[in-house]
Each structure stands twice: as structure tokens, then as C-alpha cells.
């Protein structure tokens, strides 16, 4: 990444700090469950690996979206990024279905909400 500006670099550092925080909490809760302890260098190394893996994922996702002649990365692209491991693919597939059905539910709720509002205003108009 030779073309990153100072501002981008600062933003990346902040995001890395956010990842470090989450990785730290995750490792701590996992360690507590097994009466074991993760040393600080391990947490830093997992953070760094996750950060770089994210870079790889991002470039893959971008390429998949472009191949489908889109400029927005969709869930289909993420599913494709998880193709190497069957267990991971199945997990991501079920999660994507969960997200899609949650969205559908929200849309239905909104729709019925609007309908009710319309009825309310109609009733008010009748009065």
C-alpha cells in the first residue's frame, strides 16, 4: 500500500486498535472458560493476522463484485469468499439466510406500519 495518505494511514491505525480491542475481549472470554491465559504478543499477532486477512478479503470481494459488473459488494460475494472451507461456507450460507429473512421481516413491519398510519389518517379524515 504505497499510495495511502497520512489521513488513511491514521484511520487504518484506529481501525486496527478497534480490532485489537475486540480480539482482546474474545481471547479473554475464551481463556477464562478454559482457565488458560493468552499472552499479549499472541493477541497482537492475532490482530495483525486478522487485519491482513481483511486486506486479502477486501481485494477478493472487490474482484468478485467487479466480475459480476457491480460496484457494490453483496452477500453473494462474501459467500464466494468463504468457498475454500465447506464448514465455513455452510455457516456463512445459513447466516446470510438469517440476515435476509430479518431484512424481509423489517420490510414487512414497515409496510404494515405505513398501512396502519394510512388507516389512522383516513379515520381522522372521516371524523
Amino acid at each position: 500500500m504505497s499510495t495511502t495518505t497520512d489521513e488513511e494511514e491514521r484511520q487504518l491505525q484506529r481501525l486496527k486498535a478497534a480490532i485489537h480491542h475486540t480480539v482482546g475481549r474474545l481471547c479473554q472470554s475464551l481463556g477464562e472458560n478454559h482457565q488458560m491465559e493468552f499472552s499479549r504478543p499472541v493477541i497482537a499477532a492475532i490482530t495483525e493476522t486478522t487485519f491482513r486477512q481483511c486486506d486479502v478479503f477486501a481485494k477478493d470481494l472487490e474482484a468478485f463484485a467487479r466480475h459480476a459488473k457491480r460496484s457494490t459488494v453483496s452477500m453473494e460475494d462474501v459467500k464466494l469468499a468463504a468457498r475454500r472451507s465447506t464448514a465455513l461456507y455452510n455457516f456463512i450460507q445459513s447466516k446470510s439466510e438469517e440476515i435476509a429473512s430479518a431484512n424481509q421481516e423489517q420490510r414487512d413491519k414497515k409496510k404494515s406500519g405505513v398501512k396502519r398510519k394510512n388507516k389512522d389518517t383516513e379515520a381522522e379524515a372521516m371524523e
Binding site: 474474545l26 493476522t49 460496484s71 459488494v73 465455513l88 446470510s96
Partner: protein, 82 residues
Amino acid sequence: MAENSSTELSFKKETVSKLLTLFFREERTRVSADAALLMTEMLYVFVEEAAQRTMKQAESEDCDKMDIEHFEKILPQLLLDF
């Protein structure tokens, strides 16, 4: 979506979305909200897997503190699996 206790510890959607956007080569590439949410799940699995495998490695060496050498041993296979 059914949020279980493990996803509460997971990454924020905004963080993942920003991170991906910064890593893209082209500026006009965007991430949909659903895709960002799905990526948080993916990264959660990645970190969880890294931590679990490190723990298993330390256990097999009869250590109760996970150190960098344990992580180093599981790293190649971890990267091959993702």
C-alpha cells in the same frame, strides 16, 4: 436476527465496513450493509478459530499460558483454511 452472546463480543458492522472500503483498490467500490454484517461473522469465525487452535496447541504442549510460539505453529494451516 438472533443475536447470541458470542456475537455481542464480535466486531462492529461500521468498523468492518470502513476497513473494507479503505482496503479496496478503487474508490467507487462500496459494501452493502448486509455484506458488512456477513463479514463481521466471517472475521469472528477467523479470530475464534485462531484463538481455539492456539489454545489446543498450548494444551498439547502442556502449557497453561498461550504464547507466540503456539500461535506461530497453527498460523500456516489457519491461513490455508481461509
